[in-house]
Amino acid sequence: MTTATTTIEPTATRADWPFVAAAVLATALLIALVLIDGQPASAALLVLGFGLGVAFLKAEFSFTASWRRFIVRGEAGGMMAILLLIALTAVAVVPVAATSPHYGGAIAPLGISLVVGSFVFGIGMQLANGCGSGTLYTVGGGSGRMLFALAFFIAGSVLGSMSLGTFLRFGGIDPVLASDHLGPWGGLAATLASIGVAALIVRAVARSRGASIVPRRSFLVGAVIIAALMVGTFFAGGHPWSVTFGYTVWGAKIAQAFGLDLSQYDFWQWPGPQHALTDSVLGDTSSLTDFGMIFGAMAAAAYTKPFAHGPWPPARSILAACIGGLLMGWGARLGFGCNIGAFVGGVASGSLHGWVWFVCALAGCAAGIRLRPWFGLSRE
């Protein structure tokens, strides 16, 4: 008599320990460096960035794909989760930034620069298949394609820093901040109301196209966790989380090392950028969270499967990543940030520029989606 036996395989994670160890050790090294300088807030930004990398990767929290699904199919689940993320962040940012001199919101002027920059950024998002935060966590997650996107994002942001002064000469309007006109709690109420109106519009568009408005569970959980980490970043850094200024500083330092003199450009004569260019890269809040996020995503990715094991993508896809990265970099400087710094940070601060950025970038995404097939990328 034979007996049928069922072998139950243990559910083992196929951790790629060398890359897990590299990510954790690199983060620990950076934390040690800032702690030696007596900067616990900087260490906190590295840890929070690490957490953001893990959260974004595990939730696959993608602004680019969410916006594309909304534009192409009318699916609004991702958009709803993003609006939830912004609303939760606003609850902490608006009143604290309005009442404490130690904290500030993400504000920016309104003008040609913002409109052009955010539109171009939107095109780049869809070609690169990732935004500011998306580039960070997919690079950390082992995407060779996004290594190209990041390199060109950095180059583009340096080019953007050279152009920004020219665009600002066209003029503009000073930042419009809800709490300046309505006080901290009135400003928060107005900000939450604006997010509610946006959610109603998004829902109406989805309904009219017979599409879903319900986010995936992982996306919803991701939004809550990312909001908590963004609030932590706000308290540790004094401002809402931003991504792309760090890229500009890295690119400028590299360019300077190769003999490029940036001091003639307006951007590098302003006190903040000038200081960032001469100071340690670990003295820049944006760079700290960026480093943490890359290593966090790397640790999370390598813990679950062999790291960066896939083949290189086709050359046309890499070309799209390079062009997309370049456009995002240039656009982020002119548009005062990316999805995180300008849209999430701006709206969560009650600043009108966040909504202007969103509308223009969404239009840019629609244009970028039309260009995707040229590079062998699906419009979906």
Binding site: A106, G238, W270, G272
Partner: protein, 50 residues
């Protein structure tokens, strides 16, 4: 791709270390918005200040 990644990590971390030890540091990490006259996350001035 793994080899490229390993190389990027080594070069990247080495560059951060080199930059940190060869640059002055005022201590506390800052963003451009912390400086007087900043009107945007990158430190750009307000249109009305020009």
């Amino acid at each position: 791709m793994r080899a490229v990644y390993a190389l990027v990590i080594v070069i990247g971390v080495a560059a951060i270390l080199w930059d940190h030890v060869t640059s002055p540091s005022i201590g506390r990490a800052v963003s451009p918005e912390d400086f007087a006259g900043a009107c945007a996350p990158c430190g750009a001035p307000c249109p009305s200040k020009k």
